[in-house]
């Protein structure tokens, strides 16, 4: 109890408090949707501007978007394989862009200046609901990818190379979304907390290197999430011989 009150008061952070939206019987974390809409709106505007006038000789924003596209294609192609990477590239790319924009948006924009009645705005990926949603989508995707590509032969994967692997492979289906969601959630929340505490304690210079470290972590986490998602899908569609 003492530790709890110390943490909440000392850090002056509103940890675990949410802006609740009540729609009928369901309750939503409003701050997550607000920040995600702002950030995704910015992303969509950016992309619309970049793809408005596509030329064969790319300039400016189009160049940047093509670089991004190429980066995502390479990621998907190396993890999923030449045969089916095309089907999954939009999903992997969306995961990457969503996580990246959420992480960086949460770290770069001074959300704290906007006061909410309860809770505070921040990276949407610092909310466990978002990361679990993403992780479950990845789980559904690799099941769908495996079943649609190989049919029932997908389940050969569970006894490959020996049937001894069966319990471990089944366990993996649970640990994969768990580790995906908690890794992202933990990293981003920890980064926000560290920066918040440091800003509260020493509001000069000192938090700046930690903020840069946070930007680095944010980018790395987006890459890790997208890479792992692609790897799981690649594992599901891989042909064993």
């Amino acid at each position: 109890m003492f530790l709890n009150s110390l943490l909440t008061n000392f850090a002056a952070l509103e940890v675990g408090q949410h802006l609740y939206w009540q729609i009928g019987n369901i309750r939503l974390h409003g701050q997550v949707f607000l920040t995600s809409w702002i950030l995704l709106g910015a992303l969509l505007v950016f992309i619309s501007l970049g793809t408005k006038k596509m030329e064969n000789d790319p300039k400016g924003l189009q160049n940047l978007l093509e670089f991004l596209w190429d980066y995502i294609r390479d990621l998907a192609r190396t993890q999923i394989g030449e045969k089916v990477y095309r089907d999954w590239m939009p999903f992997i790319g969306t995961l990457f862009l969503f996580v990246f924009v959420s992480n960086w948006g949460g770290a770069l924009i001074p959300w704290r200046l906007i006061k909410l009645p309860s809770g505070e705005l921040g990276a949407p990926t610092a909310d466990i609901n978002t990361t679990i949603a993403l992780a479950l989508l990845v789980s559904l995707s690799y099941f769908y990818a495996g079943l649609s590509n190989k049919g029932w032969r997908y389940f050969e994967y569970y006894v490959h190379p020996t049937p001894i692997m069966l319990p471990f492979k089944i366990l993996e289906d649970f640990t994969k979304p768990l580790s995906l969601s908690f890794r992202l959630f933990g990293n981003i929340l920890a980064d926000e907390l560290v920066v918040g505490v440091l800003v509260f304690l020493v509001p000069l210079i000192l938090p700046i290197p930690v903020m840069f470290l946070g930007l680095f972590t944010s980018a790395i986490q987006a890459l890790i999430f997208a890479t792992l998602a692609a790897y799981y899908i690649g594992e599901a569609v891989e042909e064993h011989h």
Binding site: L28, I47, I72, T94, N129
Partner: protein, 153 residues
């Protein structure tokens, strides 16, 4: 609902899982479709079109290069054969002129020899004629001298 009381928050907490989860999932799926039609498809089309264009150009350039190399080799062999042909013609002409020169020289030599011989023969004839005449005159003179000597006696 899985609602842990974490960090002393009166409601919610860090692990407060509620309808945000499925709605966020739907939002991400919708975002996937939006980004696919706004970003991945158009950019992919442009990039892949350009990649095709570049690879086609490379293939074309390679074909042209090999053609050029073939033509170059062709030209080289033609040049070689022309060179040997020219050499052959030059040496033939040299032989010919050499032959002509030798013939002309021999002819001139023969002619010169012949005229020399003729001149020699003429000189000899004249000399013998002169000698004959001289000896005849000497004979006449000696006869005259003899006659005079005899008459005086």
């Amino acid at each position: 609902m899985l609602a842990f009381n974490f960090f002393g928050a009166t409601e919610g907490g860090l692990f407060d899982i509620n309808a945000t989860l499925p709605l966020m999932a739907i939002q991400v799926v919708a975002l996937t479709y939006i980004l696919n039609s706004l970003f991945f498809k158009p950019v992919g089309n442009v990039v892949e079109k350009r990649e095709k264009f570049v690879s086609n150009n490379i293939i074309e350039a390679k074909n042209k290069l090999s053609e050029v190399k073939k033509l170059e080799a062709d030209l080289l062999t033609q040049l070689q054969s022309a060179r040997t042909e020219a050499q052959r013609i030059v040496s033939e002409a040299e032989n010919e002129s050499d032959k002509l020169y030798k013939e002309a020289l021999e002819l001139a030599n023969n002619e010169a020899n012949a005229s020399k011989e003729k001149a020699r023969l003429e000189i000899e004839n004249q000399t013998s004629a002169a000698r004959d005449q001289l000896s005849k005159q000497a004979d006449d003179l000696s006869e005259l001298i003899v006659n005079r000597l005899i008459l005086e006696k």
